[in-house]
């Protein structure tokens, strides 16, 4: 009943609209849907956030555990990002271990966090080589209506920015906020179809897209992470155009984000 086969009529209609500079929900090519970020929704998690991007809905939970550091970075805490495309979220999602789509999503969100230097990993070290804090960021997708990359990235970041280290639960003292070195990068995802480039794809736009490009920019507008997906291609000019769109959107989204996490 809620299948995701895009009919030829729907595809042609989206193509036609795009030729006239329009989208099916009346947005401009570079316009985002309504974003709502609610941190602290899961009271027992160390950090959490619920993000709605249009009708897409995801929850992020941050949990910390004590564990051993990786051998090649004995003084650093550990970050593990995982995403679950729940069967709730789409008739196309099945129960089971993450497959390549979920894995790509996890790794892209992870890179956005990791490469930004946002988490001060050294401050998460308790005993070099022996004991560090392991930070788990789990992204649960509840409703897939397009652009899981940005929704999950925002949820993960909001959960981290409002997270605490659970010293109390481990009998090690009082809880403190998770140490963050810099402000987070904001990622923007775009798709291309029929030569048109648009930001924040809706479900149908994503399903008919030839190619997808996610760019994460920090406060200095430096590139921190990029991911190109799907089998189509981008010309260099198209990448430049997308970068321009991202630069203006990142600023807007960052304001929404800052207000939500109160930083």
């Amino acid at each position: 009943m809620s299948k995701s086969v895009v009919s030829a009529i729907r595809k042609d209609y989206l193509y036609k609209l795009a030729q006239d500079g329009k989208r099916m929900d009346d947005r401009k090519f570079d316009e985002y849907r309504k974003i709502t970020i609610e941190p602290g929704v899961i009271t027992h998690a160390e950090g959490s956030a619920r993000v709605r991007l249009g009708k897409t809905e995801v929850y992020a939970g941050v949990k910390l555990e004590l564990g051993e550091p990786y051998a090649d970075s004995p003084n650093s805490g550990v970050l593990i990002t995982n995403s679950e495309l729940l069967p709730l979220a789409s008739p196309d999602f099945e129960r089971g271990p993450p497959r390549e789509n979920a894995i790509e999503l996890s790794r892209v969100v992870d890179r956005g966090i990791r490469e930004s230097g946002m988490i001060d990993f050294e401050k998460l070290c308790i005993e070099p080589g022996e004991k560090v804090w392991k930070v788990f960021v789990d992204l649960y997708v509840l409703d897939h209506n397009g652009n899981l990359f940005d929704a999950c990235a925002l949820a993960g970041l909001a959960a981290l920015c409002t997270a605490k280290i659970p010293f109390e639960r481990f009998g090690l003292g009082k809880d403190v906020p998770l140490p963050l070195a810099t402000s987070p990068p904001i990622s923007c995802t775009h798709v291309k179809f029929n030569g048109a480039l648009m930001a924040d794809p809706s479900l149908d736009e994503e399903l008919i897209a030839d190619a997808r490009l996610t760019i994460a920019l920090d406060e200095k507008s430096h590139f921190r992470a990029i991911q190109k997906g799907e089998a189509g291609s981008f010309t260099l000019d198209e990448v430049k155009e997308i970068t321009k769109m991202a630069q203006s959107n990142v600023e807007k989204i960052r304001n929404i984000f800052k207000k939500a996490v109160k930083r």
């Binding site: 009943m1 299948k3 086969v5 895009v6 009919s7 030829a8 009529i9 729907r10 595809k11 042609d12 209609y13």
Partner: protein, 226 residues
């Protein structure tokens, strides 16, 4: 305050008498009484008590016209998604063209949108559809939207009154499949308004005075449009 018709929930008592349970209702063998099995609006019709459901899937019946999407192509038939719990088969014998074995994709490909008729539903729930009748065809251009199949009768209206209202005011071609898929074709802005009207009807299907409200809304938007 918008008046809504009475709505019942599954398990709610409907009747204790001689009446028979129709759609959305069942008789409990333990006490002989009739209860609702669906969330919907109760309706007595002849000697049946029905519950017109507010939500639920489309169950095809022979001779119904539906809008389908081709989801698979085989050498001598196509599989069509008709928005039902079962797939539908369109055989080469049931289309207006003479299709050679293996040439099926030349006529209809995956994702094509077609106006077809339910021929029969077998004992094993296999749905057979046909495109033989003169008015049946592949749709080209326009737009397709989906509404809840349970709302189709309300969107059509008594003797087509509701949908004719929309067509007349906005000058848009509209075809409503019994399975909840709707094809529209017209000028851009008018089509968008038609879709808005249909969505509003879908949302308020269980209320009273809907036809008047829609007429008012169409009047307002038509003059703004001009």
């Amino acid at each position: 305050m918008v008046k809504i018709k009475e709505i019942v929930v599954p398990g709610q008592l409907l009747d204790e008498g001689e009446i028979k349970p129709g759609q959305g209702a069942y008789r409990d063998r333990a006490d002989g009484k009739i209860y609702a099995s669906r969330l919907g609006v109760p309706l007595k019709r002849r000697d049946f008590i029905n519950v017109i459901p507010l939500t639920g899937c489309y169950l095809p019946k022979p001779d119904e016209l539906v809008i389908g999407i081709i989801v698979d192509v085989a050498p001598s038939y196509w599989i069509v998604d008709v928005n039902a719990p079962y797939p539908a088969v369109l055989h080469v014998n049931d289309v207006p063209w003479k299709v050679e074995f293996g040439e099926t994709s030349k006529y209809l490909s995956i994702a094509d949108v077609v106006l077809i008729k339910i021929s029969r539903v077998s004992e094993t729930e296999q749905i057979q559809v046909s495109m033989r009748d003169r008015n049946l065809r592949k749709f080209v251009g326009g737009q397709v939207i989906e509404i809840q199949p349970t709302k189709v009768p309300r969107v059509i209206g008594k003797k087509q009154s509701m949908i004719e209202l929309v067509k007349r005011y906005l000058n848009v071609w509209i075809f409503i499949g019994k399975n909840g898929r709707i094809w529209l074709n017209g000028e851009g802005k008018s089509t968008r308004l038609a879709i808005k009207a249909i969505r509003q009807i879908e949302k308020e299907a269980h209320t009273e005075g809907l036809t008047d409200r829609i007429k008012e809304w169409l009047e307002m938007n038509k003059s703004e449009n001009m």
